[in-house]
């Protein structure tokens, strides 16, 4: 009896093998790359059903594992994408990987963006730098042919330090051309050849002043950006339940056991990574 249950028990620590099938250089400094991966065993898709906002533990065998948000959308079949900034041991090893390299992926983990609450509403995306990665999953979902009409107006405000630091430029170009998307792209200060807006995201958000009525705001970016975006949204009249963000913490297991990613009693890997401002207000400021 006991042995049967153990054999059936899925081992959450064993990653599925996945092959890198595409690598896109995102930034001019080449410190951000997007990796497209496909599971070596196609049956892995049966247990890997994800929604925007979730993440996976990505392993480079020999270097270890790191939690990375899934930047592709479940509406895109047959592959996953991870946009990775080269900062630590695992991400550096990943940056040395080539097409064809087999890596490990386990997940999906964490909660999702509140898609059900967003249906029928306007959606305002506010991103900064690599923070566009988790938002891109939701943007792609919302703008997909299957789901676009479930949502009202879509506005995207995205900023980076310089034009060379903007990620997903190919997506920005596509989104910018659509007449059902209002896209504002900003860089911190003027540059030769840049005819778009300049400034910091919170300040531009204030200028653009989106109407909070029937709108859910979703923001992700560097902590300093989020810190200044939240009060701007509040001043604009967004209620704390309608301001959504996604957090990062150092993680190991991804499944609430290893004990390090908690903020108060909430584990970012299980209760998050997506939180509303209302939830954050009830949590200790320890992130």
């Amino acid at each position: 009896m006991v042995q049967e249950t153990l054999r059936d028990m899925k081992n959450p620590y064993v990653p599925e093998l996945a092959k890198i099938t595409g690598i896109t250089q995102e930034t001019e400094a080449n410190d951000v790359k997007t990796f497209r991966v496909e599971f070596c065993d196609l049956s892995a898709w049966e247990s890997f059903r994800y929604d925007p906002g979730q993440f996976a533990e990505v392993s480079v065998f020999g270097a270890g594992e790191a939690p990375i948000s899934i930047t592709s959308s479940p509406t895109q079949k047959g592959y996953l994408e991870f946009s990775v900034k080269k900062v630590g041991q695992v991400t550096t090893a990943l940056h040395y990987a080539n097409e064809g390299t087999v890596i490990g992926v386990r997940g999906p983990y964490g909660n999702t963006f509140p898609i059900n609450e967003m249906r029928g509403n306007n959606v305002l995306f506010i991103g900064g730098g690599i923070g566009l990665a988790p938002l891109r999953s939701l943007i792609t979902y919302v703008l997909s042919r299957e789901h676009r009409e479930e949502f009202q107006d879509v506005r995207i405000i995205y900023g980076a330090r310089s034009s060379g630091d903007l990620v997903f430029k190919y997506e920005l170009a596509t989104w910018g051309k659509r007449d059902d998307v209002d896209l504002v792209v900003i860089i911190d200060r003027p540059e030769d050849g840049w005819d778009g807006r300049t400034g910091f995201v919170p300040a531009v958000l204030k200028e653009v002043a989106p109407c909070p009525e029937n709108t859910i705001a979703v923001t992700c970016g560097p902590p300093i950006m989020i810190k200044y975006v939240l009060p701007v949204l509040t001043d604009l009249g967004f209620s704390p339940d309608r301001i959504v963000t996604t957090l990062e913490m150092r993680m190991k297991c991804g499944i609430g056991m290893c004990g390090r990613c908690n903020i108060g009693s909430k584990y970012v890997c299980r209760h998050g990574p997506v939180f509303t401002l209302r939830q954050l207000m009830e949590m200790p400021q320890e992130y």
Binding site: V2, Q3, L6, R7, M9, N11, P12, Y13, V14, P15, L17, K19, C40, S59, F61, G62, A63, G64, E65, A66, V87, G88, Q89, T91, N98, G100, T101, V102, I103, G104, P223, E248, M249, R250, K252, C253, I255, G256, M257, C258, G259, R260, N262, I263, G264, S265, R270, P284, E286, Y287
Partner: protein, 350 residues
């Protein structure tokens, strides 16, 4: 209720070994005592092992899987060596104290929840029968009663031994325990206890429970720590100051469960190893970016206390402390969690 002569303990172990059980009990390792394989030699049951019982289920380091990159670019992952269900024989852990047994039930909340089950822990749990020895005389650092347990607590035990004048009274607590007793033991070792024995056990229990109730006001402390202003309370500025951040409290804690996972490589192959980790270490929460949400010993000490007496309670309806006193006895600077709790119990938060 059954009864066994104390002098038959070694015969009891032999019978288990003969029935193909791996018997784990207190063993000496250097200056410390811990749980390890016993049998053949006389067993000594210390008041409390230096190292906690948890390591029989959640060892300090273990391989989660092995991988091979020699087929580059194709890698392969193998868990057969570590997860083979016959890799762990049926085991009996004996000489366990009630605090350590109760700690396993708390750890089950973490490693065997409804959502995710840790197969390494769960496998060992399912394969192990816990034989607990009630504490005849709790130590000076013990405060199990204050945490809801007690020197005669049966929580987490399959069989409970109570020492009474040269004998053990043997009580099957769980079906698993009952099964073991029926399966293994000849009547020459175990026989029925009489009313006098049972009366004597009750008296021993009444004597033992008194010293273990150190009167630590845990409920009051937990209530304060659950207050919305507790996290920012100025008392944290003082209580952590002696702490060196050595983490011995968390390593020896029977309920602490934090771990790290890392790869160790030899040539083209390697293993993914899980190690105990501790919230007392700065690297524990350090982001790759350099940001650390718990940058100083103050935040880390607060995390340890809040996790045990507030966060764990919120998530699992029980506190993550069994009052074994190991953190009290082994702290190099005598930072006493009982005093910390007393400090908070006396705080008045508006």
């Amino acid at each position: 209720m059954l009864k066994m002569a104390k002098t038959d303990l070694d015969a009891f172990v032999d019978a288990l070994v003969k029935a193909s059980y791996v018997v784990l009990g207190p063993i000496q390792e250097g200056e410390a005592t811990k749980f390890g394989v016993v049998g053949g030699e006389e067993i000594k049951i210390p008041r409390l092992t230096t190292r906690p019982l948890k390591e029989l289920f959640f060892p300090q380091d273990e391989s989660l899987l092995s991988f091979d990159r020699s087929g580059t670019p194709d890698a392969s992952v193998d868990t057969s060596g570590v997860l083979a269900s016959d890799g762990i024989s049926p085991r009996v852990a004996l000489g366990v104290r009630p605090c350590d047994a109760r700690a396993l039930v708390l750890l089950d909340n973490v490693f065997a929840s409804d959502d995710y089950r840790d197969p390494y822990y769960t496998l060992r749990r399912e394969k192990t029968v816990i034989i607990t020895f009630a504490c005849p005389l709790p130590g000076v650092a013990c405060f199990c009663e204050s945490t809801g347990g007690g020197p005669y607590d049966e929580t987490g035990s399959d069989i409970l031994f109570v020492e009474v004048a040269g004998s053990y009274l043997v009580k099957a607590v769980s079906e698993k325990g009952k099964g073991l007793l029926q399966e293994v033991f000849p009547p020459c070792i175990l026989h029925e206890a009489d009313d006098e024995d049972i009366q004597a056990a009750a008296e021993a229990r009444a004597r033992g429970e008194l010293p273990a109730n150190a009167g630590v006001p845990i409920e009051a402390a937990a209530a304060i720590l659950g207050h919305v202003d507790a996290f920012g309370d100025s008392a944290w500025e003082e209580v952590y100051k002696k702490c060196l951040g050595c983490a011995v409290c968390t390593y020896l804690c029977p309920t602490c469960h934090c771990f790290d996972i890392g790869d160790e490589v030899t040539g083209a192959s390697g293993e993914r190893i899980r190690n105990w980790d501790s919230c007392m270490f700065p690297l524990f929460t350090l982001h790759a970016s350099g940001h650390n949400p718990r940058p100083s010993r103050k935040e880390r000490f607060r995390q340890r206390v809040m996790h045990k007496f507030n966060y764990f309670v919120e998530n699992n309806d029980c506190m993550a402390c069994v009052g074994c006193g190991r953190c009290v006895e082994n702290c190099p600077v005598n930072l006493d969690i009982r005093q910390v709790l007393t400090t908070f119990a006396r705080r008045e938060l508006a």
